[in-house]
């Protein structure tokens, strides 16, 4: 068992030849053995073929300068390729050739320099091992004493330690002065917006027609055949001048038609569907990806980002994955012309959970 508090009893230096540089710090629980092998010293240097055979040396030299000349060829080729393979027509093939040939030229230019320089270093430059002596990272005792002395003098001359009122008030001021900068960053978000209010409502309201995403063509109930799934936006979304994506990020809806007997509706939501047609928020309740994959046979919705699965026949409750809450349901009905309309906005915030949501 190691004894870590024995004041360096075992601190025998294994190799006395380096004793003058020896780190006398505490070795902790390291075992310092008196019976260890001694370092046999550097392995004798081995000469390379280029050191021994003038022919090989000549060959290596030729290789290096040939590579450097090749690099020049590569660079010139890259410039030529810029002109020889322009992107002129609306032709993706042009882009491919332009990228490829400029790239090949640059690759040659770069790799030839690289391999040439490394080969020069490895085969031709003198490769004797050099040895640097290390010193402890800490400054020498004299240096440290001098540094301490400087701080002492500075302390005395400034009165930093003595005039505590000055010092402490300075520390206080230094702590407080960056705070305005933090406050300025409040401007990153608009001053007049209430996040909770905004997150709680979408642009769906009573009578808004359900329309196809992205065309905005309103959907008739009769268009929705059994087993089909529609990506839906509010009909007036495309008319928005501003904030279209923000509204769409909340209002996107999936519309599906199931056989009414497959649909297990909650009693309080019995009139939210129309003839087996149900509408659910498309924004995942986990972190907000669009739940875009509908499996027709099982009536499951799958989020492609983190694989949460929602069961449409069971009011979109989560059956697998990290999400917790079911997808919010949009109550729908049919207007006098046969178009699907919203009965109201969603009755709960859509999308990912947030702190103030409850």
């Amino acid at each position: 068992m190691a004894q870590d508090d024995n004041d360096g009893k075992d601190l025998t230096v294994a190799d006395s030849s380096v004793a003058d540089h020896h780190d006398e710090a505490h070795p902790g629980t390291a075992v310092v053995s008196r019976d260890a092998f001694t370092d046999p010293g550097l392995v004798p240097h081995r000469k390379r073929v280029t050191d021994l055979d003038p022919k090989k040396e000549k060959h290596a030299e030729r290789t290096v300068y040939t590579l450097f000349y090749l690099s020049i060829v590569g660079s010139i080729w890259a410039i030529a390729a810029y002109m020889l393979f322009p992107i002129e027509s609306n032709n993706v093939g042009d882009v491919r050739l332009n990228t490829l040939f400029i790239g090949v030229g640059l690759t040659l230019a770069l790799l030839a320099i690289g391999f040439g320089a490394v080969h020069w270093g490895k085969a031709l430059m003198v490769d004797d091992e050099g040895v640097d002596i290390r010193h402890l990272t800490r400054g020498s005792d004299e240096t440290r004493a001098a540094a301490v002395e400087i701080f002492d003098v500075a302390n005395k001359e400034s009165g930093f330690g003595r005039r505590t009122l000055i010092r402490n008030s300075l520390i206080g001021a230094l702590i407080v002065f960056p705070l305005p900068a933090v406050v300025l960053f409040r401007g990153l978000a608009p001053q007049d917006e209430n996040p909770v209010e905004l997150l709680s409502h979408t642009m769906w309201k009573k009578g808004t027609r359900l329309a196809l995403d992205p065309s905005g063509v309103a959907i008739k109930a009769t268009d929705v055949t059994l087993g089909s799934a529609f990506h839906v936006i509010p009909e007036d979304l495309n008319d928005l001048e501003h904030g279209k994506l923000e509204e769409k990020a909340k209002a996107a809806v999936l519309l599906m038609r199931l056989r009414p007997e497959d649909l297990n509706e909650l009693p309080e939501r019995a009139d939210w569907s129309y003839d087996g047609i149900v509408a659910y928020s498309k924004i995942c309740t986990h972190v907000g990806c669009p739940v875009a994959l509908y499996e027709q046979q099982t009536h499951h919705l799958l989020c492609p980002c983190h694989q949460s699965q929602f069961d449409v026949s069971n009011h979109c409750e989560v059956i697998f994955g990290p999400a917790k809450r079911p997808l919010p349901q949009l109550p729908i009905a049919v207007d006098s012309e046969g178009y699907l309309i919203a009965q109201s906005d969603f009755l709960e915030p859509v999308g990912p959970s947030f702190w103030e949501r409850s």
């Binding site: 790799l111 994506l245 492609p304």
Partner: protein, 554 residues
Amino acid sequence: MSTATTPEAPPTTSTAVEKKGGFTAAAANYIDERTSVSTMVKELGRKIFPDHWSFLLGEVALYSFVVILISGSFLTFFFQAAMTPVIYDGSYVPLKGIEMSTAMASTLDISFDIRGGLLMRQVHHWAALLFVASIGLHMMRIFFTGAFRKPRELNWVIGFVLFILAMAEGFTGYSLPDDLLSGNGLRIIDGMVKGIPIVGTWISFLLFGGEFPGEVIVGRLYTLHILLLPAIIVALIALHLLFLVVHKHTQYPGPGRTNMNAVGQPVLPVYAAKAGGFFFIVFGIIMLIASFFTINPIWNYGPYDPSPVSAGTQPDWYIGFADGALRLIPPGLEFVWLDRTWSFNILIPLAALGLFIVLAMIYPFIEAWVTGDKREHHVLDRPRNVPTRTAIGAAGVTFYAGLWAAASSDIIATHFKLTMEGVIHSLQFVVIVGPFIAYFVTKRVCLALQKKDRELVLHGFETGRIVKLPGGEFIEVHEPLTDYERWRLVSYTDYEPLMIRPNSQGRITVGQRLRAGFSRWFFEDRISPVTKTELEAAHGHHDTHHELDEKSAH
């Protein structure tokens, strides 16, 4: 100096200063009188750098960062970081007439209307992927060889911060083109941020300048991506390399390599030639990949729209572990309590990743506390000689790899025709139990390798030569190791578990008990290096073998 190779090359700096006349000498003198550069050349010019292939990993990281800076600067001249909607009217026909942000449209222009633009985009993206990958491998090299020990603990922390900043650079850059995938990435960040208690909703609004996605996020990320983060990264890299110079590079154990020297090649000329050449090799290989292989084809994804998303979406590889953590969390971990929403399905992954990162970052300090070793260490450990650390590292790598694989859970499921649930449950097992398995297997493998080393030192190499002794006994001749070969196998630091002893007040503190517990965990299973006496004893035991060994050796 080699004279055979470049007779016409300018002479080295030292002779240039002495020599009268000549442009080089005049220029050197001019600069030195104004900068004292000769002092620096004298100090650093022949500085020794030990050599090993694994030391190149950090170089790859540095060089790919330079490539990122070069290609990124080119891109900034063409990219427009605005989210103002425009109707695309460039060369890529399938997207003509479609409304998209200026950022997306200018990225398409870079790809389809500017010669060499797509090449530079791909150089930038591939170099970024390589940057993070090489940092990761470099960190593993540092960890498994114990290069983080005193005096390099702080440089480990700096390197770790660089790793995190590199990922931040990657993510901000990934988000700039404002294509469908990058928008979805931001959506996920938004969802995660909103899950943070108390401040989450507000952070999301401050970040996006209002509701997601808003029209400011690309511009803000651009400032981070090309100004703030690169500036910090450059400063930290400078500090990282400064410490490298101050500490001198570590070296692998071997004959003549002690804790008090550095054995290798001098900066001028060999190291400069090899390292400088290696920069061009790294750049060239990135260029080769970028010429032939598409990366991030945003024209296939289209502009960001909150409604569609394609199946099989993947983040860039280095974000995978975070995305995987989100996927692996078991269902149902979100509650309403005190009229507030507690999203543990987001908080637990965040906390787990945070803990993982913090533990990795402070590991050098933990190990230093356990060993109590206050000496400097410049000779690296062979991973097998520190079985517990190596096993901890393997456990960490397994944990990370499990999370990383989880980011491709859907691809794994469709590709190998497995169920989604089966893949997720298997990966949950890998992430929770896998590290323990990896720990025990690695530790046993290390101990076995140490035993093999011991065996080699004590009995030499098996030669495969069977000899019949006069008495009729058959033995296999073993060839003893040379002094050099042996030194590599026996020169490692060996630690013993700490014995609990009362301190000067006669008390045994909780801290000491804890440290003793850790110390037992680290060093209970240990194989000591062979000593001289042991080797002699081994030879004494097999006296006849020994004689034969001697004969066959001579």
